[in-house]
């Protein structure tokens, strides 16, 4: 017999976490159902999350519930905040609810009931359940249904309660608080909330027909894609023999957007590229020394091990003037806010700067480039720009050495170093885009990857670290320089974090410009734009509803040596991780890849998949009518449940036609199948993923030119190509 806590925990399992807009992390909206078969989960998910006929009184309860959630979880929008927020959501709600006639309708019995609510939210849940006459058999089902009928906000609670690091005290019991308030509102507003159980039983099968055809469509898409891709991969198992040392090496994130860009770099010169998770193996939190803003820059599956402070790379006096500039800019912002959020003062504000804002809007719409240049010029006047520097004093030599060693071994770059090795993080630069962070680097926790690349480059350039590596058998010549860089995925420009005027470096920069130009041409076609040059303006274009396609159409994750796939057109649909099976005899590196980056790609793929399947239920809806509550999350229009997932414009061509292909990710690993099987056998999580069909797996043995696909029973099946025989 399960106790109450277990039942509570179990009902929360159906809710996937939702990260706020500052760092949207891709998640599978059916994360909690990954322990059952994909097909069944799709059905169960529909029955929970895709119903459009909720009972009226539940909708009324939702309205009141959303009202309070908006007020309490506001992160900086309202000037006058909800009172007593420090007491936590439930207690602060309890205090106000007494005075809210919309809740108690001035009914003395209800007011009395509200007054009698206990301090602890857990006891309050029990009390409400008793008052609602929920019996033991119904308990789990009813709690589950209470959560899934307000799924967006419940997801945010899941994030706050179970995923957020360093949270405030008043969020301690946030999941219990949420349920306590929800059930109390049920009691106050609904005559019979238990009808939800019946409602769910009746509607359970409503979507089954659609799901049948949906699953067929997914299968069809996958088959076609798999046939094509694997056949091509099998054909190209001849390893090229390296002729000469490359002029530069680039390490990119595994992100699908790196793939076409890498190809374009390789085409413009004697360059070599690698793929590795974009946090470059350093799980860190980064704090800006001036703004004091702090964030984790690593995959959310990891906890940051280090705290690194970001400063500026400049002289002491320049640092002082930088600080002054920073303060000045902040002060100007303060002027505006102080005028805007008070009585009377917004009126003179509007009349004073109205003319200017009109001119600004005009320039933003018609002359985005010039207006950006002017703004940048003015900003620079006040605060000149310097390269970032990082304070690594919290890291021991051993720490740094290990990070460097793991990084190089993982991508199998242990000899033949080029003179320049670029660590290329990525990020998107867009303006007026609430979903901007969904285009950022997932491996950096939904942030830019530039900091991590600069940090790891700095580590690799340290003399002591080089000595450490030499002891481990990796000799790096003195002239080899590691340089941080950042690939702007919106405009395909690469910013190189080095002021050196080296001739060779300048040549590389010029080549990167050509590669960027070519990649823009390639991407413009996908975006349906005639002039590729326009993409460069998308960085600063505040009206651009779709600045880039992000990771749409992702279809595969290829773990293997770059040489073998270099000549195949992967259509920008593949995550790429460098891997050389020969150099990983024990399989430890592969195990690491399968346990971390592969899981991240799965989350991304499933987020895109479900946002495409039903954008209202699993996605964020259209950007054109979105509203942002509390500066943290999107709603639709006047007010709605939180709209988790990707906006329509990320997965659809227009409001009718899909762009993203509905399919699950195919993982292709260049390694003997026995080696892969050994790793899967070790981890129940991996077994569950492949057994239940949340991802597909293909083992590619380059020696005997054979591909094997793992089936639902975890048995290998030889891949049979329809195309080869034709």
């Amino acid at each position: 017999m399960l106790n109450f806590e277990n039942i509570l925990e179990k009902s929360w399992q159906n809710i996937a976490p939702f990260w706020p807009l500052q760092n949207l992390i891709a998640t599978n909206p059916l994360l909690g159902m990954e322990n059952i078969k994909f097909n069944e989960a799709v059905n169960l998910g529909s029955s929970y999350f895709e119903q459009d006929n909720l009972p009226q009184e539940i909708l009324d309860a939702n309205v009141e519930n959303i009202k309070y959630l908006q007020l309490f979880f506001d992160d900086g929008q309202a000037t006058i905040n909800m009172p007593n927020r420090r007491d936590g959501f439930y207690n602060s709600w309890k205090n106000i609810a007494l005075h809210d006639s919309k809740l108690h309708q001035n009914d003395q019995a209800k007011i009395k009931w509200l007054k009698s609510l206990p301090q602890s939210s857990e006891i309050a849940i029990k009390k409400s359940l008793a008052y609602l006459n929920v019996n033991k058999d119904q308990l789990e089902k009813f709690l589950t249904l209470s959560l899934i009928t307000l799924p967006g906000w419940a997801s945010y609670m899941q994030y706050l309660g179970s995923w957020k690091n360093d949270k405030n005290e008043n969020l301690e019991n946030v999941k219990d608080d949420f349920l306590a308030v929800r059930l109390s509102i049920f009691y106050l507003i609904c005559s019979n909330p238990l009808q939800l159980i019946n409602w769910h039983n009746i509607n359970y099968h409503l979507m089954e027909n659609r799901n049948k055809s949906l699953l067929k469509e997914i299968d069809k898409n996958e088959q076609k894609y798999h046939q094509n891709l694997i056949t091509n991969l099998v054909k190209n198992t001849q390893q090229n023999i390296k002729k000469k040392r490359s002029d530069a090496q680039f390490v990119f994130c595994i992100d699908v957007r790196s793939e076409p860009f890498r190809k374009n770099i390789e085409m413009v010169g004697n360059y070599e590229t690698f793929g590795f998770a974009g946090f470059f193996g350093i799980a860190t939190s980064i704090e800006d020394n001036l703004s004091g803003k702090k964030y984790d820059s690593c995959p959310v599956l990891l906890k940051p091990n280090f705290k690194i402070t970001r400063t500026k790379s400049c002289s002491h006096s320049e640092k002082k003037s930088d600080k002054r500039g920073f303060k000045k800019l902040n002060e100007i912002k303060g002027f505006y806010q102080s005028m805007k959020y008070n009585f009377v003062t917004p009126f003179p504000l509007a009349e004073s700067i109205g003319l200017y804002t009109g001119a600004y809007s005009f320039s933003k719409v018609f002359l985005p480039k010039i207006s950006h240049k002017i703004k940048k010029f003015l900003n620079r006047k006040i605060r000149p720009e310097f390269l970032n520097d990082y304070d690594l004093k919290n890291m021991s030599l051993e720490d740094k050495g290990q990070i460097a060693l793991n990084f190089l071994k993982n991508i199998n770059l242990t000899k033949n170093f080029a003179d320049f090795v670029f660590l290329c993080g990525h990020g998107s630069h867009t303006e007026n885009n609430a979903f901007a962070s969904s285009l950022e680097c997932g491996a950096c926790g939904g942030r830019h990857g530039g900091d991590n690349s600069a940090i790891v480059a700095k580590i690799l350039n340290e003399k002591a670290v080089r000595n450490f590596l030499e002891k481990q058998g990796i000799k790096i010549a003195q002239k080899v320089k590691f340089i941080g860089a950042m690939h702007n995925t919106t405009s395909d420009e690469v910013e190189i974090f080095s002021l050196s005027n080296d001739e060779k470096l300048n040549k590389i920069k010029a080549d990167l410009k050509i590669a960027g130009f070519n990649n823009r041409k390639y991407r413009a076609e996908k975006l349906g734009i005639s002039k590729a040059q326009k993409l460069q303006n998308y960085n600063n274009d505040w009206a651009q509803i779709r600045p880039e396609w992000g990771l749409a159409q992702n279809g595969s994750f290829i773990i293997g040596p770059r040489d073998l796939i270099k000549n195949i057109d992967l259509e920008g649909r593949s995550f790429l991780h460098s891997y050389q099976s020969d150099a990983d005899k024990e399989g430890a590196i592969l195990e690491g890849i399968m346990l971390a980056p592969m899981i991240v790609t799965k989350w991304i793929n499933l987020q895109y998949l479900f946002s495409t399947i039903n954008n209202s239920a699993y996605g964020a809806g259209s950007k054109i009518t979105k509203n942002i509550t509390g500066k943290i999350a999107p709603m639709q229009g006047n007010g709605s449940d939180l709209m988790t997932g990707l906006p329509l414009q990320s997965v659809n061509v227009n409001n009718e036609k899909n762009y993203h292909q509905k399919q699950r990710l195919l993982v292709v690993i260049y390694a003997p199948k026995e080696k892969i099987a050994k790793i899967i056998n070790k981890h129940e999580m991996l077994q569950s993923i492949f057994k239940n069909g949340w991802m597909k797996l293909c083992a590619l043995d380059e020696k005997n030119k054979e591909a094997h696909i793992l089936n639902d029973n975890l048995k290998w099946q030889k891949f049979a190509s329809n195309l080869l025989e034709e």
Binding site: Q22, F49, E50, Q51, D52, L54, L59, N62, V63, Q70, L71, Q77, A78, I80, M82, P83, I96, H99, D100, S101, T149, G152, E331, G334, F335, Q337, S338, N342, V344, T345, P346, P348, A350, E351, S352, G354, G358, Y360, F362, E431, A436, D541, A543, I545, N615, S616, G621, I624, T625, N627, I628, T629, K631, Q636, G637, N638, G639, D641, N654, N655
Partner: protein
């Protein structure tokens, strides 16, 4: 009767035309990228263009029938633009609310016009305004026009449709808040020459404006989503515009209409930026010394305001009202400058607030000057209502600066909590325009 004279393009028309052209151009530039992937984009553009024409006709028309027709047509097209996808029931309901409001407002206007046409036996606005004298019929017509204007500008208690209108696409909201919502102010100023003769009606306009101003501002301060916050702010700004009309300062009201239009449409278009925009610590409450220095700056700011606005510094008429508003603005601005180091920053504060005051006056003067051919501004005697409103304004302003902290105290008085939740409830959009189940949302 003169039916043929359809148009009369005066200075007011010219200014309104200018605003319409600029705002429509900006929003067109925005939509051309923002909405280009929508399947009904062509339809949208057609309506957008039609609205542009209809509004242009409205601001230029002399014939009251044409005026009424274009007034109603513009609003109906706006509703069409608001409801981007009627399958989304909440959005459809927002449209229904707005449409009802506009039709009712047009009906009131129709009655008012009928009375005026009948009284003066003319369809010409110019003729009617020239011939008007204070009579019961005129006053009834004017009262109806006031109510119609209130509905158009979402003045309390007709604000609900505006707070429920955010199911619209962002650029449509920008168009509405920068454009059509100002229709009320335009209506009153169109008839300003008749209104100027009736001190009683001016006071009515002043009072309804003041109420809306207060309520809108308080609503705004408790909102936690960006678009509703902006809508409440518009409600307050419209209230202020009405107050300016009520003070007889019609030119200032038009200046407000123009500049607020640009300002608010910008804020809507850029509303997605809020995600990265964190609130600064304004260091409330300020030290006493800081506050007194701020008052000093405020006096300078208001002095330069009147200088640029070609007013007397301490005039004994209703223009004094705006001078004091400028002073409050100046004080607030200098507080932000002085907050960290009051004495070191004093020089900067004086310089900045004085020039800001001058700039403010200059902007207002720009529009007023242009309109002055119409003898459109006629400050009235200052009365107790005005003084009362000022006292309340200053009190509220001060209390927000000095008394914000009690809200964060442990024991908040029940009365405050009660007030807070009532404000929140009053500022909610209409129930039928909310989307409590995300599956009822349709893109």
């Amino acid at each position: 009767m003169n039916l043929i004279n359809l148009f009369n393009i005066d200075e007011l028309s010219k200014i309104m035309l200018g605003v319409i052209v600029i705002i429509f151009t900006i929003i067109f530039g925005f939509c051309r990228k923002y909405l280009k992937y929508e399947s009904n984009y062509r339809n949208f553009l057609a309506n957008f263009f039609l609205l542009f024409c209809s509004l242009s006709i409205l601001v230029c028309s002399d014939n009251l029938l044409l005026f009424l027709f274009s007034y109603l047509l513009s609003n109906l097209i706006l509703v069409k633009l608001m409801v981007h996808n009627p399958k989304w029931i909440s959005a459809k309901n927002s449209g229904i609310m707005a449409r009802k409001n506009f039709i009712f407002s047009s009906a009131l206007l129709a009655i008012a016009f009928a009375l005026l046409i009948n009284l003066h036996q003319s369809f010409s606005l110019k003729t009617i305004i020239a011939a008007s004298n204070s009579s019961l019929t005129t006053n009834i017509a004017l009262a109806l026009i006031i109510v119609a204007a209130m509905m158009q500008s979402a003045i309390f208690p007709f604000h609900k449709w505006l707070l429920s209108s955010l199911n619209s696409p962002t650029p449509v909201s920008a168009l509405m808040h920068g454009g059509l919502i100002n229709g009320g102010g335009f209506l009153i100023v169109r008839f300003s020459n008749i209104f100027a003769d009736s001190a009683g009606l001016l006071n009515v306009i002043f009072i309804v404006g003041f109420i809306s101003c207060m309520i809108g501002t308080i609503f705004k301060l408790v909102q936690s989503d960006i678009k509703r916050m902006l809508a409440c702010s518009t409600m307050a700004q419209m209230g202020f515009m009405f107050m300016q009309c009520g003070l007889g300062l019609f030119g200032a009201a038009i200046a407000h209409l123009v500049y607020h239009g640009f300002f608010k449409s910008y804020l809507f278009l850029a509303s997605a930026n809020v995600v990265n925009d964190s609130r600064m610590d304004l260091k409330y409450p300020p030290k006493n010394s800081t506050f007194f220095l701020a008052i000093l700056c405020a006096i300078l700011a208001s002095y330069f305001f009147t200088l640029a606005n070609e007013n007397k510094f301490l005039a004994a008429d209703s223009s004094l009202f705006l001078t004091i508003i400028a002073a409050i603005g100046g004080a607030q601005l200098s507080l932000a400058i002085l907050k960290n180091r009051p004495f070191q920053n004093l020089a900067a504060a004086i310089l900045i607030t004085s020039s800001a005051g001058w700039f403010y006056g200059f902007n207002v003067n720009l529009i007023e000057n242009f309109l002055s051919h119409n003898h459109i501004s006629s400050p009235i005697e200052i009365n107790y209502l005005h003084i009362g409103a000022l006292v309340i304004f200053v009190t509220m302003w001060l209390s927000l600066i000095f008394m914000r902290s009690p809200l964060y105290l442990k024991n908040i008085p029940n009365l405050v909590t009660k007030l807070y939740i009532n404000l929140v409830n009053l500022s909610q959009p209409a129930r039928q325009t909310l989307t409590p189940n995300r599956n009822n949302y349709k893109s």
